[in-house]
């Protein structure tokens, strides 16, 4: 389920796009896999982090992409600090 939350992208004339849970989920999984977290665990962590971010987003109709990164990092830190560090520091995790 995607929330009706607009994500304001920086450096793009403040253009907004809808929040897509799938994209956040994939980025968390990628960060976890990059620090050699087993695939199943990465999925579980990503699921928990996405739930945490969505709970935070419920009261906010519009946030920035940096906010998503900050909140996701905060949640990810409690599950896997190393992955959280990578997620926080790398803007593009492939």
């Amino acid at each position: 389920m995607n929330l009706a939350v607009d994500i304001v992208k920086h450096g793009n004339k403040n253009q907004a796009e809808r929040f897509v849970r799938e994209r956040l989920h994939n980025s968390i999984v990628s960060a976890c896999l990059s620090v050699r977290v087993p695939e199943g665990q990465a999925e579980t962590i990503a699921h928990a982090v996405c739930d945490g971010v969505i709970t935070w987003l419920r009261q906010r109709p519009e946030v920035t992409s940096q906010d998503i990164r900050t909140v996701a990092t905060r949640h990810l830190k409690s599950h896997h600090p190393e992955a959280a560090y990578l997620y926080e520091q790398h803007h593009m995790i492939i």
Partner: protein, 457 residues
């Protein structure tokens, strides 16, 4: 010539409580274009859910309590009772009459644009309020604070009260566990105990009111336990809570042993934390979970953004927030920057007997290694104590070695009124001799101030 950017407003104030409202009004009166953004009810915490409603309820409770114990003065009070819905109606009337609660129209009449939604910074000069982008050349953050919910196992599975929600309870619970023995916990403990609730207070430290001098905590502990039947559990940590039939059961760890108590309701009064979740990172504002960092002029590291009130994370009260708001308004638009003067800010707990402090406490002086003299005048040595048949309380004055008053504490009926004489003394550096030489009316509670001061001469 550098391009001058245009903004929607000269000032956007985020939060309409004491920290924000004064600044918004001052700026609007100076002809600036101002917007105020409030995520909850206009007026903020104090008039809507904390100071005003609590004190209105405490006033009714204390009247009831005094009348109930009037037999010793020859009053017949055996048939005295109360109707809690009517008491709540009185509380609502008091809130309504302040004019500060839910007063969106007041701001609009001052020419201030109002927005009733949460604000979120998108950039240093722009916020989003329900998808509407507002920009300003200056901001004042006065979002206040929110209740801290401690990490207690099972707390998320039960319905519990906060200091805000307990004021809306349909009736006082039969029994209540208060987690936290600070100012709010003690006020609500007395309120509920007067209305017949069996109250337990679980406090982690060795006494109630741990932020005040030990004499205060010890006296209030005695008053609450002996006169109001409150069970005080010091050195206690609530480990878990769970549903138990229609009530709740709490496991409390005390001095290495675990104790289980069954209660009807739980109140979490473990303090407040600054409300800093408004996208401050997007504006580049430095902050921690303990509050927004500001300099002496209440300016954040982003020079056009100021902050005032509880969001700074200091021991703040409505009157302190109001002072900071006025200072911030001056510093945002004025050429001569000013610094808020915190030296003589009184702090009051509205229980019976009242507690009021000002300036440095004895613990503060010890921490700063200040050589001091102190004197305590117990209430029972003054005449008023006899005519009112009330003996629990004292006036404590702390001076430096030259006799200049550094701080004071009053535990007495009407302590909140008595303390202002000592606040004046602290602010203007008066000596204990100055206070002792000032005539104090016979049969006033303030006589205890003169007695305490004269002990230091």
């Amino acid at each position: 010539m550098a391009k001058k950017y245009e903004f929607d407003y000269d000032l956007i104030v985020i939060g309409s409580g004491a920290g924000g409202s004064a600044a918004a009004t001052i700026a609007a009166r100076e002809g600036k274009s101002v917007a105020i953004v409030e995520s909850d009810a206009f007026g903020g915490e104090s008039p809507n859910w904390s100071d005003i409603p609590t004190k209105a309820l405490l006033h009714a409770a204390n009247l009831y309590d005094e009348a109930r114990h009037g037999a010793r003065f020859g009053l017949r009070s055996s048939t005295l009772g109360y109707n809690y819905p009517s008491i709540r109606a009185w509380k609502d009337l008091a809130v309504k009459r302040t004019g500060a609660g839910g007063n969106r129209r007041y701001y609009e009449s001052q020419g201030i644009s109002t927005f009733n939604n949460a604000a979120h910074f998108l950039s240093p000069n722009e916020i989003s309020v329900n998808r509407r982008h507002l920009s300003a050349s200056n901001f004042l953050i006065a979002t206040g604070s929110q209740c801290v919910i401690p990490d207690i196992q099972g707390l998320d599975t039960i319905k519990y009260f906060t200091p805000r929600t307990i004021l809306e309870a349909i009736r006082p619970p039969k029994s209540l566990l208060i987690v936290g023995g600070g100012d709010t916990g003690v006020e609500i403990a007395q309120l509920m105990a007067i209305f017949g609730t069996k109250v337990y207070i679980a406090e982690k430290s060795s006494r109630l009111l741990p932020h005040h001098d030990s004499e205060i905590g010890e006296l209030i502990e005695r008053v609450l336990s002996e006169q109001k039947g409150v069970t005080i559990l010091n050195h206690s940590r609530v480990m878990s809570v769970e549903k138990d039939g229609l009530g709740k059961r709490a496991i409390i760890s005390r001095a290495g042993t675990e104790k289980s108590i069954r209660i009807d309701e739980v109140l979490v009064a473990t303090g407040r934390a600054p409300a800093v979740d408004l996208g401050l990172e997007n504006a580049g504002i430095k902050y921690t979970a303990h509050g927004i960092d500001v300099n002496d002029y209440l300016q954040t590291n982003v020079k056009h953004i100021f902050a005032a009130g509880d969001v700074l994370g200091r021991d703040s009260h409505t009157h302190t927030a109001l002072l900071e708001s006025q200072v911030a308004a001056n510093n945002i638009f004025g050429r001569n920057k000013i610094v808020p003067d915190y030296t003589a800010i009184p702090e009051i707990i509205f229980i019976h007997p009242g507690i009021a402090t000002v300036g440095l406490s004895e613990d503060d002086c010890l921490k700063r290694d200040l050589p001091i003299n102190k004197a305590i005048a117990p209430l029972n040595i003054i005449a008023r104590s006899n005519t009112s048949d009330f003996r629990d309380g004292f006036v404590k004055i702390i001076t430096d070695k030259k006799g200049i008053i550094l701080g004071a504490a009053v535990v007495a009926p009407h302590a909140g009124e008595i303390i202002h004489e000592l606040a004046l003394a602290v602010k203007y550096g008066l000596s204990a001799d100055d206070v002792a030489q000032t005539p104090h009316a016979f049969l006033s509670w303030s006589e205890a101030v003169r007695v305490a001061a004269s002990k230091l001469v």
